[in-house]
Symmetry: C2
Amino acid sequence: MSGTGKRRSQKERSAETSTRLMNATIDLLHDRGLARTTTPEIARQAGVSRGALTHHFTTREAIISVSVADMLSKTTRDLHRFAEDFIARGGSSDEIVDYIWQMMEDRLFYVTMEYLPEARHNPDFRAELIPTVRDFHAGLDAIWTALAARTGVAPDHTRIVMNATMCLVRGMISQTVLRPNDPAYYQGMLTFWKQQVRQQFPIQAASSQDSRRKAGAR
Amino acid sequence: MSGTGKRRSQKERSAETSTRLMNATIDLLHDRGLARTTTPEIARQAGVSRGALTHHFTTREAIISVSVADMLSKTTRDLHRFAEDFIARGGSSDEIVDYIWQMMEDRLFYVTMEYLPEARHNPDFRAELIPTVRDFHAGLDAIWTALAARTGVAPDHTRIVMNATMCLVRGMISQTVLRPNDPAYYQGMLTFWKQQVRQQFPIQAASSQDSRRKAGAR
DNA sequence: CATAAGAAACATGCTTGACTGTTTGCAAAA
DNA sequence: TTTTGCAAACAGTCAAGCATGTTTCTTATG
């Protein structure tokens, strides 16, 4: 990228190769699945030798784990950027639902579905992921907290709605596997859910402040 | 089972071996994951030789596909039984949510999480599952339709709530992998959801019939 | 009813292929 | 020239599918 010249420092070479390998890993996870994401296949997809791969990553589990962590941390950065923008703009709850759906449906949760079963059966792998996932949820929290603060809804209740939204979207994307080619179905469900969420976060109209209802009630 | 004597008909022998193999397959899918569900492992778990397995099932994909279909059809039978009982009793929407959660969390969706990625990347495998899954959803429909009929809610709206419930539960179970040992979290979310569902299906009090509200409104 | 022929169920061993982890060789950068 | 980044060859493991034996049941026939 930086510097089209042929002479690169070792660090640059190394970093680029690593990046190519990690991107290739995520691409393969998404396109062909974890079982088919073999080390020869990753190297081929990245356009490097398998030796390069083993030089940078000691084991297959390592490159997958690191690649997933990398993907998650990038997504977390995006979340925080969205949160900043959302706060500045004063966006709607509908926007959040749409953003989350797009983010999850654009590869994130499909990739997650690939490694989740492995995480369930492999404690080491799981342990490496949990902290990264925690950061990711902190990013989500940043967004919803902004909405909660503006609408005066209790944080606990906000968090429940946030988590329910995440779970709903996860489940919807799971379903796309065995119920494909039905965008109307998924959009209909999203519309329903946006309406439900709106009820939890009453609109703070630009003029009237008294529009806050008893959201957060048990 | 029937007749402790040693002499069994061919059909009985065959059926028992098949059953043992299919049960072993589901057990392994749940306990060790799809990748670790190898044909030698299945045979070992079932207590039969690998030759017996290859005699009954031509390929690894076949035994897995058939076992999953078997599991799903059993669950579908249970759904219909619950629906009958539910209709007779006139149960609550809370009950439905609880039943679905239990059913999914008791292995069903964990097993599903194992084969879903494979279904996503393997068109033949997916094609074999889709009809069985359709039957399963018909079983779900039987339950919710009963509730809808009693409360006078529009079928389309009912179906949205049903599907949202299923998606939510799927997502919740996905999350248990990387957020384990937190039953309060999941129970809290279920409580929230039951409340939401209740709002969609206003209680038909034993006395008043006019308690039906405008649920199903856009 | 006894029994032998045949079919179905099951067992064992082999072959092939592929993947993982490792080691050795080499060229470019420091 | 010493280290670093990478390439290529190698060795060990294991599963899948197949092919060939062996046992258990069924049935037709005398």
